[in-house]
Amino acid sequence: MLETIPVTIESVRDVAKQCFDEGWRLVTLSAVDLGEAGFDILYHYDKDLVMRHYRLTIPKETVVPSISPVYFAALLVENEIRDQFGICFADIVLDFGGALYLEEEVRAMPFCKVSVAQKQC
């Protein structure tokens, strides 16, 4: 079983900053649709080939603080999650506005199991 460390929406950027200061490399983020329960966002970090995973569980339509001001590399994956799941990230360093892969007129979130989400944040 994958061992994950729970993290709250208030502390997600502080945790990222702490990981950055301790020399952890951001591997990526993974979003999982939990249906009615909302979303899981997993933050995967690596240091000396050892991985650490933080799990943020959020209700739908929650705006998540972007960690791209700390880890520039997060900008692409956060934009991808916005495209696929409709999760919005606040203060992202380069915001494609939900059009990284999709055309701007697309309003459904293709990776949500039941997609009624709106693209406007």
């Binding site: 079983m1 994958l2 950055f20 020399g23 490399r25 951001l26 591997v27 990526t28 993974s30 979003a31 999982v32 649709d33 997993l42 995967h44 080939l49 991985m51 995973h53 880890y71 520039f72 590399a73 900008l75 692409l76 994956v77 380069l94 059009a99 990284l100 892969y101 999709l102 293709p110 990776f111 199991k113």
Partner: protein, 408 residues
């Protein structure tokens, strides 16, 4: 100073796949680069909800043709981790051999494209001629040249006979000699150095902080490679990563060139140490589909395909006269994947990561794929500002971009 916005791509002679960069130029110097993606996005991850966990092997192999074997390996290791499948040691060695053959043909492909990017067309053809021999090995041992489809949950579908192993070693000896003959041109030529040394520098700190992986990371002085984690048979092969320290396009080229030769040594070592035994565990659900059983091939089928395609070939020698043996299945493992796993393997372009979540049904709840080019785009955006416009094509190519991988 006047600013000019210049579109680079999505169609460009150095780009095999579509990537668009919006370059801001001031007096021929790039001051900003912004990417645009979405030209080849296929939504392959989403298919895990409608294809069962075995069929997903064929899906993930098509994320990227060039490293299809390693995508399947990473996915299968994730499922095996969730289901607690003990993969036979012989299967681990076979996975290592085919994985390293994929690395070799990917690096040779890139070295050819890189040579072509600065006008060395003959060198381009020389690298691809060598690559053709590696493709022949894969065809003769798997039945396919690119998407080899050898991995299954629990092991591999094919086996290698002693005669095949001996023939592979002979082919690798010829390839090694041919690759070394090209070393002087690709690494010592004045023009190549003029176009690559000091171009697109990524410092050691930048490489780590921006999440670079693979030859991008190792070309900047970091001795980090997912093969050090010991997946497949690497825990028994004493692997040490190739490292260069200058962080420029030349260093990345040198890493890939040296890794090609290193892969030959790894395949030789794996063949020498490969134990006898089964090639796959019998996983419930994985072997019930006829299309996923360990299978062999007849010499006649291979020769028919060879004769059909021979006018496309560069190498003269036909594949050797042997059949492809099927694998041998071990004890049965029952159940459906229920749980989460994160697995990593080292693709030719860098670290590949899969996050897999199963909920005890035949379909996976989530398959998340983080490909190496996806990780290497942010470092590219940091490398381009400050460089001359004429150097942009070589710098972009130096990350070995695979956009089909990136967008999935």
């Amino acid at each position: 100073m006047a600013r000019t916005i210049l579109p680079f791509g999505p169609q460009h002679p150095v780009l095999p796949e579509p990537l668009h960069l919006k370059l801001t130029i001031e007096d021929e110097i790039v001051t900003e680069a912004l990417p645009t993606l979405g030209y080849v996005h296929r939504g392959l991850e989403k298919l895990c909800e409608v294809r069962d966990f075995n069929q997903m092997i064929q899906i993930v192999e098509r994320v990227c043709g060039i490293c299809s074997c390693l995508h399947a390996l990473c996915y299968c290791e994730g499922i095996e981790q969730i289901m607690g499948v003990d993969v036979p040691r012989r299967a681990k060695y076979l996975r290592t051999i085919w994985g390293e053959l994929h690395r070799m043909h990917s690096h040779l492909l890139w070295l050819g494209l890189f040579a072509d990017a600065f006008g060395f067309e003959s060198l381009f053809m020389q690298f691809w001629r060598v690559r053709e021999r590696i493709m022949d090995i894969m065809e003769a041992t798997c039945g396919n040249r690119v998407v080899v489809s050898v991995n299954v949950i629990g092991g591999v579908r094919r086996d290698l006979t002693p005669e095949q192993c001996q023939w592979i070693e002979q082919q690798l000896a010829i390839s090694e000699k041919e690759i070394k003959q090209l070393q002087t041109t690709i690494l010592s030529d004045y023009t190549v150095k003029k176009r690559t040394v000091g171009k697109g520098v990524l410092t050691k700190e930048q490489a780590y902080q921006l999440g670079a992986v693979g030859p991008m990371l190792r070309g900047s002085g970091w001795a980090q490679d997912a093969r050090q984690t010991g997946y497949a048979a690497f825990d028994e092969l004493g692997f040490e990563p190739v490292v260069e320290y200058d962080g420029d396009s030349y260093a990345r080229c040198a890493v890939r060139f040296r890794e090609t030769l290193q892969s030959i040594d790894i395949v030789r070592l794996a063949i020498a140490r490969m134990p006898a035994g089964e090639t796959a565990a019998n996983v419930s659900g994985a072997m019930e589909d006829d299309t996923l059983r360990p299978v062999g091939g007849k010499r006649g089928d291979i020769m028919q395909a060879y004769n059909r395609d021979k006018h496309h070939r560069i190498t003269a020698a036909p594949p050797p006269n042997f059949d492809i043996p099927a694998g041998h299945v071990a004890a049965k493992v029952k159940g459906k994947p229920d749980g989460e796993a994160v697995t990593r393997v080292e693709q030719p372009r860098g670290e590949l990561m899969y996050y897999i979540k199963g909920v005890g049904s035949k379909n996976m709840d989530r398959v998340r794929i983080r490909t190496p080019t996806f990780a290497n785009i942010p470092p590219l955006l940091a490398m381009l500002p400050g460089c001359e416009l004429a150097d942009v094509p070589v710098i972009v190519l130096s990350i070995d971009p695979c956009i089909s991988c990136t967008e999935r």
